[in-house]
């Protein structure tokens, strides 16, 4: 419940980019990024579970790197770029568009990147059965995207150990992780093929 007695003085202006859109809000000091996303912006794909950084369900990308949104004060993100699970597909399309603009010839033998409405990591989770109850899935998918962007950006395909280390902060109480790891491996291969060799 928002505290109605709070004086307006305790709100501070915040401007940041969320899923490619500029957002301006007046925010109280103690507001977390997770609360801003879920309650103010109604982006409820990012889940609230432990609220203490232990489970990874609220993982989002901040300037391209995974962070647990429950541990971040919203006001600390002035000028930052946040990507939630809702923004992953568009993020992927932007990356492909940038590749296409920079490289007139599409990479040879590039397979389709899956339906345009999903990121390859989401598509991988779908095909490999990487989700059961789904509560951890958004954070898991976002952490995997952060991991794959880092690995593929550095030109090295992730090993299974890389994937497990990249997801070490994301708890899943259903799947036993095997299908999740496989989903990320499938996605890594598709992302590499779709974007061609890195320069």
């Amino acid at each position: 419940m928002p505290d109605q007695s709070r004086p307006a003085l305790d709100q501070y202006p915040l401007t940041l980019t969320v899923n490619g859109r500029s957002v301006r809000r007046d925010v109280p000091g103690e507001r977390t990024l997770l609360e801003l996303l879920r309650e103010d912006l109604r982006l409820i794909g990012t889940n609230l579970a432990c609220d203490s950084g232990d489970c990874g369900a609220c993982t989002v990308l901040v300037d391209g790197r995974p962070q647990t949104a429950c541990l971040v004060l919203a006001l600390d993100l002035e000028g930052c770029e946040v990507t939630t699970v809702e923004g992953l597909a568009a993020r992927w399309r932007r990356q492909l568009d940038r590749d296409a603009a920079g490289d007139p010839a599409p990479p040879r033998g590039a397979p389709a990147a899956g339906p345009a409405s999903l990121h390859p990591v989401q598509q991988g989770f779908l095909e490999e059965g990487g989700a059961q109850c789904g509560f951890c899935t958004a954070g898991m998918v976002v952490a995997a995207v952060g991991l794959l962007e880092e690995c593929l950006g550095a030109g090295r395909p992730p090993t299974e150990a890389d994937i497990r280390a990249g997801l070490e902060g994301n708890l899943c109480r259903c799947t036993g992780y095997v299908k999740i790891v496989r989903a990320v491996q499938v996605a890594a291969e598709r992302m590499r093929a779709a974007r061609g060799p890195t320069p």
Partner: protein, 291 residues
Amino acid sequence: MRPPFAYHRPATLAEACGLLAADPRAVAMAGGTDLMVHLRQPWRGRGPSAVVSLRRLDDLQRIDATDDALRLGACVNLSTVIDHPLIQRAYPVLPRAARYMGSPAIRNLATVGGNLCNASPAADLPPVLLVLDAEVGIAGGGAPRRLALAEFFRGPGRSALMPGELLAWIEIPRRAADWVVRYERLDVRRAMDIAIAGAALALRLEGSRVVDARIALCAVAPTPCRVPEAERALIDGRLDEAGIGRAARLARQAARPIDDVRASAPYRMAMVETLVRRGLDEIAHGRRRAA
């Protein structure tokens, strides 16, 4: 839910110290990975009146190499420690210890300075930085001061910082880059866990002779601490089974652990002996393999 508080994001270190000095109930926040958890635990007492965010203090994010030291800004995060080529080359034990902590998402937030200022007896970087002879720089209203890291820890959750002071940097002497350094930690889970007990070991060797030695422990006393008697047992000796066993037993005798949810005090004492022996064994075997 967290209680409400005011928010400041100062642009200079002096301004940040001024805000903290003016309001004793204001707290500084770096990565926030410990503080944000504390803020929602009502048994820790009433929350802060204000958070002073250190996010805009670019000087605290710097990594500077001089001729005789490497200086880490207090707000350098753990992912940077892991990825930084200079740190990897000169002090590979630091990335190894940092990788024990949290997860990628946590390490993208958590800072070196936060790990020291939180003054948890179980924190991983203090024992490692202690055996590297680290010093810290403190900023505040008066003249900046420099302190040996060993002087910084005063008790569980308590550091040498006075009201209105901030940790600005951590300096590691260049000479420590020539030492053989290991960090051994006992935990239940590799990720998202804290140490049941930990031991950092640094040796300077000439041939098979130990010329100098540093041993520091965590999670077995109210503060992270060096063990001078165990160090003396190694110096001027050869790194053989007898010497290693003696140093490990002395480390056990120096430990003053508590019983808690993670382990009993006797278990911690037994394990800290094991960790010291294991680390010294590894160093000795590593030398034999290299020879």
